[in-house]
């Protein structure tokens, strides 16, 4: 085959693989849950971009392997050399430099999107007990300041349930959030580490006992979502789901006033399971920390927060 035809063929194959990778990158949006926050869109853009690049690399290398298996088989007992090339310094430089540039590009994309998330809300994540001056200096150096949150909701988590305290002191086991408004979640853990995770929000944050940890969310889509504890927290870890309801500001305020009049009833799945004998095939009967019925928002223990 003439040299130029070979190059043309390679170019065509690469073009097809690029198009295919791009298409798969587009599909990646459908593999994700609903986009319920502004952050979610950014994260999905980044994921789609990563999938496109990853798919291209996999197609090229896997394609070469499969092609070799089909076309480069040796006859039995032929142990003569295949191809005497021990290396090609230009090729090696190329395939060292390309991934370097590629990952730097990916990392910059990551930083870029991270900065946008930062402005959207991730910035206020941790408030360590720092002296006031250094905290102020930190705020100046980090540049763009996020807008103040419209609402602050306190999140309490313990083994094994969530509870939420709203500005008017309503305590609930559901997280209600107003749509299109920045809400600050001020999070406290009682006993062990937990992780606040709503897949549809694409946000996750560990909650460390004794530390005051904030997360700012701006949900953009009304609906009902699920809050999970993503960090293993002991026996009844799997039961740590809570409902998240994103509502219009009117509905949200209406719910707040309505909830104020109702008495909070506590339903704790872990307690229910703990008091029942296990129904599983294998029963170990090993020790577990006993879940308490009491909602922790009422216990008001969080005294050591800064």
């Amino acid at each position: 085959m003439p040299k130029f035809l070979e190059y043309l063929l390679i170019a065509v194959v690469i073009a097809i693989l690029l198009a295919l990778s791009r298409w798969i990158g587009q599909q990646a949006y459908t593999w994700m849950p609903i986009q319920a926050t502004a952050e979610a869109q950014k994260v999905d853009d980044l994921f789609s971009f990563l999938v496109s690049i990853g798919a291209f690399i996999i197609f090229v290398l896997l394609g070469m392997m499969v092609f070799s298996i089909i076309f480069f088989r040796a006859p039995t007992n032929d142990y003569s050399e295949g191809h005497p090339s021990r290396g090609d310094i230009r090729l090696e430089i190329l395939w060292t430099a390309t991934p370097t540039v590629l990952v730097l590009w990916l990392a910059f994309q990551g930083v870029n999107i991270y900065q946008q998330l930062h402005i959207l809300g991730l910035q206020q994540i941790v408030q360590l007990p720092t002296p006031l001056e250094s905290a102020a200096a930190y705020a100046i150096t980090t540049g763009e300041k996020p807008k103040p949150a419209a609402e602050t909701i306190e999140v309490f988590v313990k083994q094994w349930d969530w509870s939420f305290r709203y500005p008017n002191n309503v305590i609930s086991q559901e997280l209600h959030l107003p749509v299109n408004l920045r809400t600050r979640l001020n999070m406290h853990a009682k006993d062990v580490l937990h992780s606040f995770y709503v897949p549809d929000f694409r946000l996750q944050q560990y909650i460390v006992p004794g530390r005051n940890i904030d997360l700012v969310v701006t949900p953009i889509r009304p609906g009902k979502y699920k809050l999970k504890d993503a960090l293993f927290s002991g026996t009844y870890f799997s039961l740590m789901d809570a409902d998240v309801l994103v509502e219009s500001p009117e509905q949200y305020n209406q719910w707040l006033t309505q909830a104020q009049q109702e008495l909070a009833t506590n339903q704790n799945q872990a307690v229910a399971e703990y008091t029942q004998p296990p129904t599983t095939m294998l029963k170990s009967g090993w020790y577990t920390v006993a879940p308490s019925q009491e909602g922790i928002a009422q216990e008001n223990y969080v005294k050591n927060d800064t």
Binding site: W31, K42, V43, L46, F47, L50, V51, G54, I57, I58, M64, M65, S68, I69, Y79, S80, E81, G82, H83, P84, S85, R86, P99, V103, L104, L106, A107, Q109, G110, I113, Y114, L122, I125, V126, V192, S195, Y197, Q204, Y206, V208, P209, G210, K228, A230, L231, F232, S233, G234, Y236, F237, T279, T280, L282, K283, S284, G285, W286, Y287, T288, V289
Partner: protein, 559 residues
């Protein structure tokens, strides 16, 4: 370089002396077999625990094991597979190959070598015996993050967590002693002419992995001792409500446990670099860059641990810094993957079992590596952290890459180790069951994680059931896949056809000696005058049955 003879045993001991494997033995080859067989037994135990986990997850509701038992199962599954399967197996295969590949008669410190091995069975048995305690095993995951790991039954100082820590400290000390031995051996025991750039890539990988053990493992051992003090002796290093800091534990833990991934993966990459050239009849493409890339991976991997903690109240500058370093690992790793592919390209492929496992492992590594780069990107990681996406990703590395490489190594060097050939048909059956089972088990975990299925849960939302059913069926298939392997290994070792010295026509010093090698490995210490992977040389392609092994070895290594 001069070479001391440390043992005065006769050069050719009776070949089928199986009793040597059951006693304290200082021959690196016997120790290697002890390591590998012991590790494989632990692999079967860890696999049984995995099948129980998958049995529970086949339905959304809790119905097979109760929750404390489930938590114990995944804790011990992870611990056993990492610390009692892959790491000791790698110590075993490195023990076998390193002295042979560099032309040494044994490891630098044979007695230390034997002691390192003999710490593994007590450590492992102690860990597994915690199932017999009244309140069972450790239940806080293989990370054992405080304060959850400190929640123990009141008034029971001997509990699962305590045994977990003690056995990990024992295994860790064994690994540190092993690392001292490997590094010393590779630096000081090479045969005349075996310069660094004549060492096979496997030796480079073993060296890089063992250097990581030396540098990083002490951090974990120290952290575990502090954890034990917190657990049983009332200290408050990691107790958040008593002015301790649980996040420091995470830093110390991952300072070892991320490099541990490379400690496990580097020998696997080394195995690919040996098997792929032999069965494609090509020199390893870009030998020098692949050799140096091993050290590059080791070096970069020391500075990436915080990517396990992107959501652990980690400040932004740290998240961004560690995103860059974590992504940089892709560069030396990419060099390796490109080098393997270029070695296969335009070759004369022989698809025997070791090659199937090596190619299958290298192919599945692509997905493991690409998902790894994705996870390094902070914004994406914040979404999938602690989900099945991470579980799928690392099983593509630890099972679909490393365990596949381990099987490739077992089949490739089986004739050398035992002096007998394995049964090819059974090997191929084992490969196909494993390859299909591995993808069925671990691929569905990736979409499940994207959809938000959290790891370590014992019951889950019904929306996740389809993927979990496929994954569980795959796991049972993987369980079945070990049966032809065990039958093949046992049957072939006892009754297999006698193996010649170099059944694969491969290069490398280990193939110039007898199968199995004599006590001191080589009748004479070879003088190395050729680069590794000399597959262009006709001597490796011609089979002349009349030529004696001795003659051929002399020709090749030109003593």
């Amino acid at each position: 370089m001069t070479h001391e003879i440390r043992e005065t045993a006769p050069p050719n001991e009776p070949e089928n002396n199986w009793r040597q494997y059951f006693k304290f033995n200082t021959d690196h080859k016997a120790i290697a077999v002890q390591y590998m067989v012991t590790a494989f037994i632990f692999f079967l135990v860890g696999g049984l625990l995995a099948m129980l986990i998958r049995a529970e997850l086949i339905t959304p509701a809790l119905n097979v094991v109760d929750r404390p038992l489930y938590n114990g199962l995944f804790t011990l599954h992870g611990t056993i597979m990492i610390f009692l399967w892959i790491i000791p197996f790698n110590a075993g295969i490195s023990n076998y190959l390193v002295p042979l590949m560099i032309g040494a008669q044994d490891m630098a410190f044979p007695l230390l070598n034997a002691i390192s091995f003999w710490m593994i069975p007590p450590g492992g048995i102690l860990l597994i015996s915690s199932f017999l305690l009244p309140n069972g095993t450790a239940q806080s995951g293989w990370w054992s993050y405080p304060p959850i790991s400190l929640q123990i039954p009141p008034g029971q100082p001997i509990n699962g967590e305590c045994l977990w820590i003690i056995s990990l400290v024992i295994i860790g000390i064994s690994s540190i002693m092993g690392a001292v031995n490997f590094v010393t051996t590779i630096f000081w025991m090479r045969a005349p002419g075996m310069s660094f750039f004549r060492m096979p890539v496997f030796v480079w990988s073993a060296l890089s992995a063992q250097l990581l053990q030396l540098i990083n493992l002490p951090a974990l051992t120290g952290a575990l001792i502090l954890l034990l003090l917190d657990l049983n002796f009332g200290t408050q290093f990691f107790k958040p409500l008593e002015n301790g800091d649980p996040i420091i534990y995470q830093h110390l833990f991952w300072f070892y446990s991320h490099p541990a991934v490379y400690i496990m993966a580097l020998p696997a990459f080394g195995i690919f670099a040996e098997v792929l050239p032999a069965f494609s009849r090509n020199p390893l493409f870009g030998y020098r860059s692949l050799a140096v890339a091993s050290l590059g991976i080791a070096l970069v991997s020391i500075f990436v641990w915080v990517h396990h903690m992107f959501t652990s109240a980690t400040p932004s500058w740290m998240r961004i810094l560690f995103m860059f370093t974590s992504m940089l690992v892709a560069v030396p790793t990419g060099v390796k993957a490109f080098g393997w592919t270029a070695t296969i390209w335009k070759s004369k492929l022989h698809l025997e079992t070791p090659m199937l496992f090596a190619m299958g492992g290298a192919a599945m590594f692509l997905l493991g590596g690409v998902t790894g780069v994705m996870l390094a990107a902070v914004p994406f990681d914040i979404h999938v952290h602690n989900t099945y996406f991470v579980v799928g990703h690392f099983h593509y590395i630890v099972f679909n890459t490393i365990t596949m490489a381990i099987f490739a190594a077992i089949y490739f060097w089986f004739p050398k180790i035992t002096g007998r050939m394995y049964a090819e048909g059974w090997g191929k059956l084992h490969f196909w069951l494993t390859f299909i089972g591995a993808n069925l088990t671990f691929f569905p975990m990736l979409p499940l994680g994207l959809q938000g299925m959290v790891r370590r849960i014992s019951s889950y939302d019904p929306q996740y059931q389809d993927g979990n059913v496929i994954s569980s069926l795959g796991a049972f298939l993987l369980g079945v896949s070990t049966l032809p392997f065990i039958a093949n290994m046992v049957g072939s070792w006892l009754y297999g056809q006698r193996a010649v010295n170099n059944p694969w026509h491969a290069t490398g010093l280990e193939w110039t000696t007898t199968s199995p090698p004599p006590r001191n490995n080589f009748a004479e210490i070879p003088v190395v005058k050729r680069p590794p992977y000399d597959y262009g040389n006709p001597k490796y392609s011609v089979i002349e049955p009349t030529e004696s092994d001795e003659q051929r070895r002399r020709e090749i290594w030109e003593r």
